[in-house]
Subunit: 243 residues, 2 copies
Amino acid sequence: MGSCLAERLAHYVSLTAGEEQALGQLEQQERSFRRGTTIRTENDTARDLFVVQKGWLHSYMLLGNGSRQIMRLHFPGDIVGLSNLAFGHSTDSITAVTDVTLCPFDKDRLAVLFEQHPRLAALMFALTVAERVSLADRLASIGRTSARARVASLICELVARLRITAGAAIDKFHVPLTQEEIGDATGLTAVHVNRMMRGLVDDGLIGRNGNVITLLDEARLTAEVNFVDRYAEIDTSWLPKAR
Amino acid sequence: MGSCLAERLAHYVSLTAGEEQALGQLEQQERSFRRGTTIRTENDTARDLFVVQKGWLHSYMLLGNGSRQIMRLHFPGDIVGLSNLAFGHSTDSITAVTDVTLCPFDKDRLAVLFEQHPRLAALMFALTVAERVSLADRLASIGRTSARARVASLICELVARLRITAGAAIDKFHVPLTQEEIGDATGLTAVHVNRMMRGLVDDGLIGRNGNVITLLDEARLTAEVNFVDRYAEIDTSWLPKAR
DNA sequence: CGACCCCTTGATTAGCCTCAACAACCGTGG
DNA sequence: CCACGGTTGTTGAGGCTAATCAAGGGGTCG
C-alpha cells in the first residue's frame, strides 16, 4: 500500500516511480484517534503534518468571547496542519469528528520533496491555493448571504466533496455533524440552524432522517446558493516535468 | 533595480545571486493602472500573475444577490492572481483602489522557479499558507464577532500590514477606502460601518480626519479584537538549501 | 435507570439592515 | 472661476433577521 499523500496527489497527475517512492518515504506510520479527540490545539509547536486516511475532522479557532469558528472540514485525502509549516506553531485546533486514521509526516521531509520533486511541490502549491479559494467562498457565504443560504451552501459543499471520495453521484449522505457544529461552521446558532434545516425540508429541497441527508431537489438547492465546485479540477498544465 | 518579487522574498531570507537573477527573469515589464481600474474579473483565463509594486488593490467576489465580498486588500510586495495558477481561470475580481504599478509574470515562469530554486518555491508555499491563515482570521471575525469588533479588527490588520511596508511603528494612516468598501470587506453595510467608526471615535480609540486614521488607544483597540499579527514572521527554518 | 447530549419549538430581544434625506466633497465642463 | 452632477459621509426612523432565553422530548451511554 502506498502512502496516503501519494493517493491524494495521484488524483491529479500520474506519478512516476521516483515520485511514488519519495512520497512513500514520508510515511512510516499511521495513527488512529477516537471521535472527539483534539489532535492539535492552537499554538501547538508540533513539527508534523497529517494526511487524512479515514474519517472526518474539523479545524477551528476559539475566540475571546467564547465562541468557535470552524474553518474547514477535512476528509480522507486532505492535508491538515499546514499552518505549523508556515509559522512555528499551529494557528487553529483540529478535532476528530468521527474516529479517524491519520498519516503524520515531519515538515523537514517536505523540504526534501521540494528539492527533489519540483512537480509534486508545484502540485501541492496549487492544491493549497485551491483550498484558499474554498475558504474565500465560505467567507462570501458568511459575510453576504442569509442564514438559509449559508446552510444550503454548506450542504452543497459537503455533497461536492463527498462525491469525490465516493466516486459516484450519490444523493444520500451520512453527515456526522451536530447542529451546533454546523452553526459554528456557518456563523449561526444551533437553534437557527435547526430552523433553517426545517425550512429546507418543508420546501422539499432536502430530506432528513437522523443524520442522513437526502437531496430531493438538487437543482433548486444549488440555485439558491451561488455554489461553485472547486474540487472538480485543478490546472496541472503548467507543472514542471516530473523527475 | 531588482524584481518586485525579489524584494518581497528578501524580507524573509537573504537571496543568493542565483536566486536573485532567477527572480529578475520573471519581470521584464511593469504596468500601471488608474484608480478604479478592474485588472481582472472573475473567470478571466489570463495566464499571468502580478506582484504589486505601488498602490493598493482589493480582490472580491460578486454574489448572485448583487452584493460584494472583498476577500483581501493587496499592498506593495503582495502577489495577486494566484487563483489563475491553480484553476484555469480567476476566481475573484481585482480592482485598483489607488493608482497602482504592477509587475506581471507568466505562470510558466513559476514552473521554472520550482524546478531550479526549491528554496524559493518552498518560501512561496509558506507565504501562501500564511495568507490562507489570514483569511481564516477574517472568517472568524465575520462569522463570530460584532460589527464593532469587525471594523476594529480591519483597522488592526491594516495597521499591522502598513507598518511592515512603512518599516516603522507609525500610528497615523491614510486609508483610501470608502465606507462601502470597508463594509464589503467586513460583511456590513456602509451605514453601519459609519456608526461603528463613530463609536470607536467617540470612545477615544481612534481619531479620524477625512481618510486619515489615528490610533489613540492601541492597547484598548487590540484588546477588543482578538487580533494576531500574522505578518510579523514566517518560519523559514525548514526551507531547503538555496541554489 | 439516570445523566447527559442533542434536537425541537415557542416567545422575546437585540443587532444590523433598509429606506430616506441631506451635507460635504470631488472632478468636470462651461 | 463657478456651476453642476455624482459620489461619499452622516444621521434618523422603523423593520426584519437571527440571537437569546426557556422548556420539553428523545436517544445514548455508563
